[in-house]
Amino acid sequence: MGLPISHLLLVTGLVLMLIGMWGVLVHRNILRIIIGFSLFGTGTHIVIVATGYVTGGTAPIIDAALPAGAAGARAVDPIPSALVVTAIVIGFSVTAVMLSYAIRLYAARKTLSIDAFTEQKW
C-alpha cells in the first residue's frame, strides 16, 4: 500500500486552499476572487473530512454490511461529516451574498475589476 487515503485527501484539500488563497490575492476580477474563496472553502471541507477518517473505516450507516456491534471498530468518525454539512451550507450562503454584492458593484461602476473601487482603500 502506498500513501494512506486520508493523507492523500488532506494534501488535496490543503493544495486547494492554497490555490484559492492565490486566486483571492492575485486576481483583480471580483468573480475570480469569489471563485478563489469557494476553492478555499472547499479545500477546508476536504481537510475536515480527511481528519475524520479511521483506518479501514466505512460510512457510519448501520445496515447489513455494518452491524451495530462492529460500528465502533469499522466506521469512520461521524462528527467531521456532520460538521461539514453545516459548513457547506454556510459556504453556499456566503457565496450567494458575495455574488449579489458583485452584481450590485457591477451595476454601480459597470466593471468587475476591484481596482475601480477605491473608496475603502487605505
Binding site: 488563497m21 479511521v54 462528527i79 457547506i88 450567494a96 451595476a107
Partner: protein
Amino acid sequence: MKRIRAAIVVLLFGAAFAGLAVGYSERTVPSALAMRYLQEVPAELGAANVVTGILITYRGFDTLGEVAVLFMVAASVGMLLSAGAGRRAVPAGASAPPARPPSELVVNGAEVVLPVAFLFGAYVIVNGHLSAGGGFQGGAVVASGVVLLVLARPSVALHHGFLSVTESLAGVFYVALGILGLIFAGGFLDSHILPRGEFGAFISAGAIPLISALLGIKVAAELSVIIDRFRS
C-alpha cells in the same frame, strides 16, 4: 510586485500546511465522542445513519440556526438584488444582444431528467435516517432540479408567494416539533416524541424522518428563492 508579495504569503502558508500534512497520522480508532455517537444513535434514536442522527437530534438546535442563516441569506439577496440600482441596471442592459434560447440538449434533457431529479430529491430527503442523505442533501438535489428548469425554460416564473408560505410553514412546524420535544420528551428537538419503531424500517427513529422532511422542504424552497433572485 503584488504578485511577488502574494507568492510569499502563499508560500508561507504552504510551508505551514506542509508541516500539518507531514505531522498528521491517520487515526486507527475513533475518538471517545465518536464511539459514543456510533453506539447511541442506533441504540437510543433508532436511526441507521449516524450522521443524520447527530445533525437532527444532538445538534438539532444548530441545524435550526443554520436554516435560519439560509432564510436570512434569501432575504438579504432579495434585498440586494431587487432594490434601487439593481432595477435601474435592467434598462441599461437592454441594449445588449437578446439572450440565446436554451439549446436543444438542455430543453430535451430537462424533460427527461426533471421528474427523476425531483423524485430522487424526495427519496433522499425521506430516507435520511436509513441511508446516506437527509434534509439538506435532498433539498439541494431538488434545488438543482429547479436550476435545470430555469435554464431550460427561461420564461417560467416561480411563484414566490407559494415558496415563501411553504418555507415559513415548514419552519413553524419544525419549531413546533422542537417545542413538543420540550414538553413530551427530554428537550428541545428531542426525537423521542414519536415511538422508535423497528430499526431499519421506513417509519422508525421517532421524529427524525418528520424533521428531515420539514428540513428538506424548507431548504429546497429557500435555495429555489435564492436561485430565482439571481435570474431577475
